[in-house]
Symmetry: C2
Subunit: 477 residues, 2 copies
């Protein structure tokens, strides 16, 4: 099987410049799932992606409609008796605003130095594309794949995958596989690959406070009528105590306390405070005492105020007490917190701290459970070996503070093992302005994917037989 890899790698080397220009074409679609004005762009992006899969020789290529944005599916299953790998990725992207902070337009990808800049370059178009180009290299150089492959690419990851559960439940049989590979995460640096073994969960709230029915003159009535904007500030101030801990009663009840051994392991392999601050471009850290920054972002929960709006949004001064105020809050949860319970605790607390005379309304979005993955699973070990070949260094095992909702869904619905091998870098500015993808990682990622697919095709060990779909295998909450 060695020659399969070798030929595929030669093909990759030869075609790499072309791969980059195809990735640019992928990034040019403003496939922003959160903004309905981009619904047409999302659909066109899905169709373009399906065309790519068709072109490289994948089969049963389809764009499936869902209640929201479509799912792109493809497979190549000719190797009876060999394992099946399901590759997951997402072709939707975060909003690009504020546009003024971009050095070049977000949907006009450009290369500066070794990096390709554009919204979605790293999250997740570039990382998803790495596997497509590995499949192309294998199919074009060998005519057959060394393993059975299914591809599942969704268009709603950035809005919490609202329609994926229904799709998975309806297609459980078609999606059956031995393991799932997802590249939607970061590695510490371009010479240090990493396998993610834990992700935080997430839940989002819109908290809206309403005061009197109409705007009131702040001269005539200022000081005598309560202001929903002031009150909302005071309520948000009550979400944390002075020590940076979340002040919602009961919030930490289910947060797992890790033993000395795990914390020592994290200290050994995880990024230092200095490294995290440097990658973030931040002058100093913040948050819960007694935890390193790596711990604060992985084994401790967090609340981020992601947006706030209230009062007159135009230029100059408008001297009025506003009628409404809105805050958007993004919670990150850790084992063994339960999003539904957090939803209840938050609503109870808000009801308690809302001042009389004002009305609070809460909307909940995209709840997602925290997940963990067994570092010793055979598929994970295979990924580690492929990484070593692709990047020339053994991977470290890291926790990630982000959320990939599909991982929890795969656990609950498909009961499949997941391998998280990322090709992004901490400085990729995912979700921010000037997002980029490091092109050497694109190349090494393709090699890693080729090595992984080739090696896993040869494994016959217990972890890779077709799983019993009735129970979870190794992804545990």
């Amino acid at each position: 099987m060695l020659n399969i890899s070798t030929d595929a790698l030669a093909y990759t080397q030869h075609r790499f410049a072309h791969f980059v220009s195809e990735l640019k074409a992928f990034i040019r679609f403003p496939s922003v799932s959160a903004q309905s004005q981009h619904n047409g762009d999302i659909r066109r992006c899905a169709e373009w992606l399906a065309g790519q899969l068709q072109k490289i020789g994948m089969e049963r290529v389809a764009v499936f409609p869902t209640g929201g944005h479509p799912v792109v599916y493809a497979e190549h299953c000719h190797e009876a008796g060999k394992p099946t790998v399901l590759i997951y990725g997402h072709y939707d992207v975060q909003p690009a605003e504020p546009l003024i902070e971009w050095r070049s337009p977000p949907f006009e990808p450009v290369i500066r130095g070794d990096d390709l800049y554009g919204r979605g370059a790293s999250d997740d178009k570039g990382q998803l594309f790495t596997h497509i180009k590995a499949l192309e290299a294998l199919l074009r150089s060998g005519r057959e794949l060394p393993v059975n492959v299914k591809c599942l690419f969704e268009g709603e990851e950035e809005i919490g995958s609202p329609n994926l559960p229904a799709f998975m439940i309806a297609n459980r049989q078609s999606l059956a596989a031995d393991c799932v590979v997802i590249s939607d995460s970061q590695i510490p640096d371009a010479r240090q690959p990493a396998i993610t073994y834990a992700l935080r969960g997430s839940i989002n709230f819109e908290l809206e406070l309403t005061g009197q029915k109409r705007e009131l003159h702040s001269g005539v009535l200022g000081g005598a009528i309560h202001n929903p904007l002031q009150a909302l500030c005071e309520m948000i101030a009550q979400m944390h105590d002075k020590a940076g801990r979340i002040a919602i009663p009961g919030f930490y009840n289910r947060v797992r306390r890790w033993d000395v051994k795990e914390r020592a392991y994290m200290r050994r392999v995880g990024p230092s405070d200095e490294k995290i601050l440097q990658d973030a471009g931040a002058a100093m850290g913040w948050g819960e005492r007694d935890y390193s920054l790596y711990e604060r972002t992985t084994i401790r929960p967090a609340i981020t105020v992601t947006a706030m709006q209230g009062g007159y949004q135009g230029g100059g001064v408008k001297a009025a007490i506003p009628t409404h105020a809105l805050a958007k809050l993004n919670f990150r949860l850790v084992p063994d917190q339960d999003p539904q319970e957090i939803d209840r605790l938050f609503r109870t607390y808000v009801a308690k701290i809302t001042p009389p005379g004002l009305w609070a309304r809460i909307r909940t979005f995209a709840p997602s459970r925290p997940v963990m993955i067994d570092r010793n699973h055979p598929a994970v070990m295979t990924a580690a070996r492929a990484y070593r070949q692709g990047f020339g260094a053994a991977p470290v095992f890291l926790r990630n503070g982000g959320t990939i909702p599909v991982v929890g869904l795969i656990q609950e619905i498909l009961h499949l093992p997941v391998v998280l091998i990322g090709f992004g870098l901490p400085g990729d500015a995912i979700h921010g302005a000037n997002e980029k993808f490091h092109l050497p990682n694109f190349f090494h990622g393709i090699e890693t994917s080729i090595r992984f697919l080739t090696t896993i095709g040869q494994r016959q060990d217990a972890g890779l037989v077709r799983p019993d779909n009735s129970q979870p295998i190794f992804i545990t909450q």
Copy 2:
């Protein structure tokens, strides 16, 4: 002189429907001084207003450019030996946003019931126009005015009159008068006129907090990097203590403590808490204990958060820690607070409570001193008599929580007595959506103005000789 009034009143009665349609034309100009996209509308409005003054027979009509929006001037000074009245008003208006809350478009005035709806209908186009129509009635029915009159109408009142001081200083001689009449305030109800004898001062701040240089993923870094939006909420929460008092150290040092007599007078003539809440359409009051709502809005200072903005302003969820957060604050000041000192105290306090790692920037706008007017001045007494004739009821003397920056400027620069006779109602929703002007007040206001101008032309008492411009006469801080 009685016949002058009688003829002018007959003319008003006869022409009133036409006056209303002219007022509608005035309101149709979206003369929003805070929004630069309306600079052209402001200029056209000023020219239209000058045309009105010309048409009714005023002289030396001019539109004077300033560093910002123009000043409209006119005079009619044929009565040597008689007093001179300077009429001040403003033709600029507050922003109309949010437009969705208007029952009919803000710049397409319509009559519903006895009210004329539109932005600026009450503040201040309708009230200003009352005097123009009184002048028209007097000039058309009698060919001469019973008194010398100068008109000064500015286009920057709603942004704090930034260019009026320079204009007044440059034209001190031309603006010389015996008293100034301003109608830019409210009376308790359509049957109860009121003379304003105190106004709060004002100072506005934009407080901007900046965090790390770029937006950071709230999953990857939430809990480890401080958030300027959260910090801004916490800082705004520290502007008041739990009892509703402002927590800026030294803020109350110069706030005058009024004696039992003045507070008893205020209790007797001022609106009750119930009346204030009813007019505001609010369910309950808020603020400093031990003070009535009328006192809280007149003899006590206030801070209103008028706007806030930060993070992703589009639809849906964007999971990022924002880089900036902005709040707009409107302070109302009372005797003997000094805006410059408050500016210093606020800046010192913000510097103290800004968390490490975040940077605060403060911009100050439109400082204006609180003012008081002598209730016993002859011009004020004359206005009281005119009100009684125009509205059929003796006026009460009230404090107003709002700010009319020009009153302080007239005190400091022109050293002239000011009479504040309002024709607005508490339910006019000035600065809010669905602003309106009560048309019976328009009619009675014109009569009041005719009576005032006629009567004051007959007075020869001490208060009405040309003042010594070197010192203040009766407007004291």
